[in-house]
């Protein structure tokens, strides 16, 4: 029945598109992708399902409709057919995006529907996924596709609701003020128990001059108890407000942000049983050198242990999810957790909801700043040095976070954290002045935490180191050979914290681990033009646990992908 409808819908859509197109009121573009993959465990694994195959074909048809000069409607229809879904079985048509935006009276910009939102790293911010900085092209290519699939563009959160913005001009004190606000639906009512949850925010930015501003941010996640019952009283709220300032003097910039958070919970009897307040601030400066090719930035920040900001602390990756590819592995037949391969290949591990509970994370990947700058209970100095030459031949970046607990966790002793990051890019073809691309990338991340147990409790002494290397060689015009490697070693002793639903720590469990993850990938890619490419990749992923070798496993994968944008 569904298949009978598809040609009719396509025909009607095409007809109406053609009609609109005649009046130049509609334009359309889109993307198409077809992938086939095969994954298998080694022959030595006799306990689990050895092989999985999969794939699908999707076409995203995006329409940009202009009913009038000041209004635009954007839609994204997806036509999807899984591999093996013969004669339409499993085929689906989805409306993936619908938004209306416009300008009222040439003053007020507004958007309805699907909107992407971002404020500051402490208020509303989708922090980058782990180990994604400057990674090899072979990994970046698939990770970007998966992020686009989940509407993860930059550090924006994809939400549904409404927002608006306008600018006011002034003659005195400040030149202008940008004011914006939004309201989105975070959770819909479920039955007669779980109420609607909304998230709203506003930003006021006063531009003193083109290089200096001060501003104010406010964001709140809150329940609407009356949406389940007239007598309902239970309500959760998480609000964050901050002041922000930035000014430039020649090549020198000073900036700061400071604010506070509130978590309030009223129970079913209308009794306020939680009222947790936290605070943060960050101050820093930035200096540019060598005709803006070299940037040095240093900041000091302090985020209190009870600073909770759902919009900034929700993680991009859901480490509690079950990987799509061969989830049961090893002699012990356990469900593996999200690993290196899934970070770059699995599109189902992404978290699309802003959640008030601090989400779990993988200590091996980054336990120093698992919630980005807004990670609670951290204070210290961050330094970053970035260099990109004017011809884009070399690019390198070094960053270091020297952090410490604000309050000891279970002890008066404070953990010391160190997070070092280096990555670099060398465009060899530009160096040699050859036409075809030859480019290498590399990166290292080192994360550690230490705390003296004073002979009473186990010491904290945990380190992880992650390497990333990649190469891209354009053998003949538009035909690329790609290769990349990711390695993560983690070892030491740390404490896993258990938190209540209001994020307060209520238990610890000490653990020791010594693990190694490796991901090697190689492949070829033919770019028909800048928008169409065919890629064949092979990769091997392995996990080794020195403390429990029966947890070891490896997975091989072959992946064929055709992707185009039009």
């Amino acid at each position: 029945m569904r298949m009978r409808k598809i040609p009719i819908i396509i025909a009607l859509s095409t007809l109406s598109l053609w009609t609109y197109a005649q009046n130049q009121k509609v334009s359309f573009n889109g993307a198409a992708r077809s992938s086939i993959e095969s994954n298998w465990l080694p022959e030595t694994d006799t306990s689990n399902i050895d092989q999985s195959t999969g794939g699908n074909t999707v076409v995203d048809l995006r329409m940009d409709i202009k009913p009038s000069d000041n209004i635009r409607i954007k839609t994204d229809f997806r036509f999807a057919n899984p591999m093996g879904g013969f004669w339409g079985q499993g085929a689906a048509i989805q409306l993936r995006h619908l938004s209306i935006k416009g300008v009222a009276g040439n003053i007020f910009k507004y958007r309805f529907g699907d909107i992407d939102l971002k404020m500051t790293p402490y208020t509303l911010y989708n922090t980058d996924g782990e180990l994604s900085k400057n990674e090899a092209e072979i990994f970046k290519y698939t990770r970007n596709l998966n992020q686009e699939e989940n509407f993860m563009y930059g550090n924006f959160w994809h939400q549904q609701g409404v927002d608006g913005a306008f600018r006011l001009g002034f003659d005195k004190l400040i030149q202008s003020a940008d004011v914006s606000g939004f309201m989105v639906r975070n959770r819909s009512v479920e039955g007669s128990v779980i109420p609607d949850r909304l998230q709203g925010g506003t930003v006021v930015k006063c531009n003193i001059n083109p290089t200096a501003y001060i501003g104010f941010n406010y964001i709140s996640l809150f329940d609407l108890p009356k949406t389940v019952n007239n007598e309902a009283k239970e309500k959760y709220q998480n609000s964050v407000y901050s002041g922000i300032a930035r000014m430039h003097i020649r090549n020198f910039a000073l900036f700061a942000e400071a604010g506070a958070s509130l978590v309030a919970y009223t129970d079913t009897s209308a009794i306020a049983i939680k009222d947790i307040t936290g605070d943060f601030f960050e101050v820093g400066f930035e200096r540019k050198f060598i005709a803006n090719q070299l940037t040095f930035q240093t900041t000091y920040r302090r985020v209190s242990d009870d600073f909770y900001s759902a919009g900034a602390q929700s993680k991009r990756i859901n480490y509690g999810s079950t990987p799509q590819v061969l989830p049961i592995v090893s002699e012990n037949m356990y469900t593996r957790s999200v690993g290196l391969m899934d970070l770059v290949k699995d599109q189902t591990i992404y978290n699309q909801t802003i959640t008030p509970q601090l989400m779990g994370y993988d200590y091996a990947l980054n336990h120093v700043t698992p919630y980005g700058k807004a990670t609670p209970n951290r204070k210290g100095v961050s330094v970053e040095l970035d260099y990109t030459d004017s011809a884009n031949v070399y690019a390198t970046s070094v960053a270091a976070d020297f952090l410490q607990d604000v309050r000891g966790e279970g002890t008066e002793e404070l953990r010391n954290y160190l997070l070092l990051n280096w990555n670099g890019m060398l465009a060899i073809h530009k160096l040699l002045d050859v036409e075809n691309t030859i480019q290498i990338t590399a990166g290292v991340q080192y994360a550690s935490s230490t705390r003296d147990g004073k002979g009473l409790v186990p010491n904290v002494d945990f380190q992880s180191i992650a390497y990333d290397a990649g190469i891209e060689i354009e053998l003949i015009p538009r035909f690329d050979v790609l290769a990349g490697a990711k390695i993560v070693n983690a070892e030491g002793t740390e404490y896993f914290t258990t938190r209540t639903e209001f994020n307060e720590i209520d238990d610890y469990s000490v653990f020791s681990l010594e693990t190694k993850q490796t991901l090697y990938a190689g492949g070829v890619r033919y770019r028909f033009n800048d928008n169409i490419a065919l890629t064949l990749q092979g990769s091997t992923y392995s996990f080794a646990d020195a403390t429990t070798s029966t947890n070891d496993f490896s997975i091989q994968q072959v992946y064929l992908l055709f992707a185009m944008k039009f």
Partner: protein, 317 residues
């Protein structure tokens, strides 16, 4: 305005330097309590004699240095009855470690009990002894339908025996019943299925007096006698339209009673069903309750041992 911005940034910097010098209390539970060296601070305290008719709850005492998983095991030296109490804390007190004289399985007698306190992560063990002088009064826990201290009325179909056996290691009291019969294939090639049963336990006599929302449990102890295909069936008859007549029946049948050891059965009233109607059972409408001896329909000797049938409210026995 630029000056104002300078002041704001200077204030933020000053605040940061000031705040970074603060010394604050630790958050979360103390790690020393969780992972520090383990020491018993106050040993296990237990009264030397216990009279459960006077003290409805016996409170243990004890303190140690770390928050840890602990378990108190009380064993009746004569009956073999066992009661376990578990928790996670660094002290035991009125809230978390008390004993009302009940048992996990078969009941305690008037006997000496050994008490053992153990810890999940530490080898330390503390032992103590106490003597039960008076037993827990189970009549306060619910409606005792049959204690089997005297031979009850039991109907067989057509032949069978009910024998009271006196033994010390039994669930409750001094005696339990062994009920035996035979499954036979009748002339029309049908088994009997129903081999016997107690007379109905009637509301007028026992005063069930339950509320619609009460969670009701029918509890008893049983063990096998080496015969396969022996089961216990419970039938509840309700007057749902309050016309004084029984109008609906709900039933439940156990799996085979074949364990060599006494097993405690606690059957929730809500698990009694009637496949031909969708209306839920309602304990406030209960008028008659039947407990029967049924077979699997295969020819041969059947039987089981049974003791102490009691209905409890709110929680299983």
């Amino acid at each position: 305005m630029k000056k104002a911005l300078y002041y704001i940034l200077a204030f933020a910097l000053g605040t940061s330097l000031f705040a970074s010098c603060e010394k604050e209390d630790p958050i979360g539970p103390s790690l020393v309590d969780l992972y520090g060296p383990f020491r018993i601070l106050d040993s296990l305290t237990v009264p030397s004699t216990i009279d459960f008719t006077k003290d409805s709850l016996i409170i243990f005492g004890g303190t140690w240095s770390n928050i840890s998983d602990w378990k108190i095991t009380i064993t009746g030296e004569s009956s073999g009855a066992i009661k376990t109490i578990e928790g996670k804390s660094k002290t035991i007190d009125t809230l978390i470690a008390s004993w009302d004289g009940t048992a996990d399985g078969i009941f305690f007698k008037k006997e000496i009990c050994s008490i053992q306190l153990t810890f999940k992560d530490y080898s330390d063990t503390i032992t103590a002894k106490t003597t039960i002088t008076e037993l827990h009064d189970y009549s306060k826990d619910g409606i005792i339908l049959e204690p089997f201290e005297n031979t009850p009325v039991f109907y067989f179909n057509p032949l069978g025996t009910i024998t009271l056996i006196t033994n010390n290691s039994i669930p409750q009291g001094r005696k339990y019943a062994e009920i035996k019969s035979n499954e036979e294939i009748t002339l029309n090639n049908q088994p009997k299925w129903w081999l016997g049963g107690f007379p109905g336990f009637i509301d007028n006599t026992l005063n069930f007096n339950f509320n619609e929302t009460d969670s009701i449990y029918i509890n008893f102890f049983a063990k096998g006698l080496g015969y396969t295909g022996s089961k216990i069936s419970i039938t509840a008859k309700e007057d749902q339209n309050d016309d004084g007549e029984i109008d609906v029946e709900y039933g439940y049948t156990t799996e085979d009673i074949n364990s060599d050891n006494w097993q405690k059965y606690s059957i929730s009233y809500s698990s009694l069903i009637n496949n031909s109607i969708t209306k839920k059972n309602n304990p406030s409408k209960l008028k008659e309750l039947y407990i029967s001896f049924v077979s699997d329909g295969i020819e041969g000797p059947k039987g089981f041992a049974i003791d102490f049938i009691i209905i409890t409210q709110g929680k299983p026995l």
